[in-house]
Chain length 148, copies 2
DNA sequence: AGATTTTTGTTAGATGTCAAACTATTCAAT
DNA sequence: ATTGAATAGTTTGACATCTAACAAAAATCT
């Protein structure tokens, strides 16, 4: 059994490109995050810590936007980071709806130590491409992501 | 607060390209799968049905490989598809460890109806790029995914 | 044949993820 | 000022996802 899809040339091209894009991104991301396993951090938790390190304290809403995740999801990720003592929640006095999330000293220590390894992993992965190929890839991705 | 990362040019380039790749892939995938919401199917369930449609009945292990997911995960996705009566499990007589998953008539009907919409969505997304840009993107992705 | 290893699938426990319903608080408009 | 709309977080329920531990069956080895 198994039906082969009969489509136009443009459809077949689009499908093939899309599959390659998704596969490559998954493979690369998985390899880049592999080193996190030893730290007990998940990719999402790492993402939050990294954002806080480079952008400073943020509200949960802002974190959700940066990381393209839902608000409910961020609540849980922050919960788990807070349990481990890596971040702290601070309800704001000016607007009591808002909660600012910031790194604890332990959290900052951890992400500071981890980040260079992350950069090295990203560099290693992207080294499959030359500098100008990376630029071209970036350009194509920007083009793709545009609309909405 | 907020520390800016001081890295070499190559590191900064690699990080920027990686971010763009991940963001673009997420955006495009989310938009492509948006139409599934009306059907109550998840992206994973759609992936299984599509694989079964185009490749015919498969063992769970093969599905896990095709979709790059863990065996435990496939068990649950198939469970949920089976509850809805879209697929059927068949224990094999020759090798009683193996279970072959195949589409039920309802499942085949559904995926047959859905697939053209999916193709149209993929085509629409990829139309941000010209044909030769898509080829180039595919080439760069293949290059990236290589190692392991 | 009998013991060991490998393969296939399931289960358990933890985290992630979303959408939708809900609470609390602030803002806006009449 | 009271009401109504918008915003920030939380909770809930369902599904996804992984790893690790498990069970059953088959393959391999001695």
């Amino acid at each position: 059994m198994g039906t082969q899809y009969q489509g136009t040339k443009a459809e077949i091209q689009a499908l093939a490109t899309y599959i390659k894009l998704v596969r490559a991104t998954e493979s690369v991301s998985n390899r880049i995050h592999r080193h996190l396993a030893t730290t007990g951090l998940t990719a999402s938790q790492f993402g939050v810590l990294e954002a806080l390190l480079h952008l400073g304290p943020l509200m949960q809403r802002q974190l959700a936007e940066k990381l393209l995740k839902s608000g409910g999801n961020i609540t849980m990720v922050i919960d788990n980071l807070e349990k481990r003592g890596l971040v702290k929640r601070d309800r704001q006095a000016e607007d009591r709806r808002c909660i600012t999330v910031c790194l604890t000293p332990e959290g900052e220590q951890l992400i500071q130590n981890l980040f260079p390894t992350h950069v090295a992993a990203v560099l290693a992965e992207m080294s499959s491409l030359t500098e100008s190929e990376q630029e071209e890839l970036g350009r194509l991705c920007r083009q793709l992501g545009k609309r909405e």
